[in-house]
Symmetry: C2
Subunit: 236 residues, 2 copies
DNA sequence: CAAAAAGCGAGAGCACTGCTCACATTTCTC
DNA sequence: GAGAAATGTGAGCAGTGCTCTCGCTTTTTG
């Protein structure tokens, strides 16, 4: 089955990815050098092209890999909440897992959510892994919807079509208000992480984690909404 | 006074900046090529270094310039609100000016708020222009505070020191709750713009403008808070 | 089992990049 | 007008992504 060549190929491919991730962490996406990887590998530069047809292809592999590891981290974080009806805790854990992963892998986070590499168009196969962490968030919304949580926010007409398309696309029962609030919360969380990671909180806030917590709590409370017949969902 | 040389120098410098902005728009920050600029200018590549000591220095000039133009755009947008006590309108106009400027100058926005250029550390002189657009936002908060608007949000202990430092640094009277709510709103707005600009709303939302509006409205309502003695300003 | 095919690494080469340096020319200042 | 400062030239260094040809080795096929 696994011939000598086949095994060597996967090993070399993995090693290239490993070195590339290392470079990414040090230099960022712009500093990703195929030649440097080849050098570290003890190969001549052109040999790399047997494994990745281009720099962009290696970039795609790194992006898919990063999305996947982020997704796994968020899944793990959210899953660690035992009381599955404690939606606020699930929201907190999911978002904290996002931030933690971002802080632990800043260059990879930047690769995913920072400035797009100019001239690079992410191929279709990045989409499934890219949705992985969002599925966790959407599932919380869906479960809340099933548990009877409701929101009363004005939904602008202009976005209604998008929301109903999203609903079927995501396969959720969450209503327009829930979806909209979820999108807004997502925005806020991504914004807070990016501001911190990209250095815009320097000279603004010494404890970015505390600001992040506040953002998460504020939107968490909004997301909780009201469950009809139950007391309003209090708590900080 | 203005000798031939002096005049030629500012003209050439301006021309370099103009060409650089053009390149930025097409290729992004990573594709900024001093040699290409020199070529377009009809000079030999090394001559550029008489005007900018390095690529980073040119980048700094571009960043300062971009911050300044963004600041002016936000100022203009916010100033166009005639009823200065209509704080919601001021918030709407300021944030819409931000988004509009981002959409009109995506590469420059990315330069300011996207992935930091690796190995590049923005020097101190970028700070004043960087604060320009934020001053507009803070001023709205300050004016609201003076008009008696209050918020009742839990302020985590961990961020209190930051908030009081911020208050004196910004020279505002806004309370902890107001500042915190302002920071969160800022986060959300930045997040929404970046998600849209960096392509993360593709296949999610067809009308990113409508989502942005919803985010602005949601936080706008929170920012409004309550003015004691006045009717409560609705709720989200 | 031998021949053909496919995979892989080496090395040279192209066009590009940021940046440095010695040199000539032009402009400003004393 | 002489010296100093500013400016442009052109060669050169080290680096990049990528292509192509050439051998060698492993795998597949008849």
């Amino acid at each position: 089955m696994t011939g000598v060549r086949e095994r060597a190929r996967v090993a070399t491919t993995a090693e290239i990815m490993r070195l590339a991730r290392g470079q990414l962490a040090v230099e960022g996406a712009a500093g990703l050098s195929l030649r440097a990887i080849a050098r570290d590998l003890g190969m001549v530069s052109s040999a790399i092209y047997r494994y990745f047809a281009s720099r962009d292809e290696l970039l795609t592999a790194l992006i898919i890999d990063a999305y996947d590891r982020l997704g796994a981290a968020v899944e793990d974080g959210e899953r660690s909440v035992r009381r599955r009806t404690d939606f606020l805790a699930r929201w907190r854990h999911a978002t904290h897992a996002m931030r933690q992963w971002a802080m632990d892998h800043p260059a990879e986070w930047a690769l995913l959510f920072g400035t797009p590499v100019p001239g690079y168009a992410a191929p279709q196969d990045t989409i499934p892994p890219a949705t992985r962490y969002t599925v966790v968030l959407v599932t919380i919304l869906t479960d809340m919807s099933a548990a009877g949580h409701r929101h009363d926010v004005a939904v602008p007409k202009a976005i209604r079509a998008d929301l109903s398309r999203l609903r079927s696309q995501l396969g959720t029962d969450a209503g327009d208000t829930s979806l909209l609030i979820g999108l807004a919360a997502w925005s806020a969380v991504m914004g807070a992480i990016n501001l911190e990671l990209f250095g815009h909180l320097h000279n603004v806030v010494e404890e970015p984690g505390a600001l992040f917590d506040a953002v998460v709590e504020q939107h968490g409370r909004t997301i909780m909404g009201t469950v009809p017949g139950g007391e309003p969902s209090e708590r900080a």
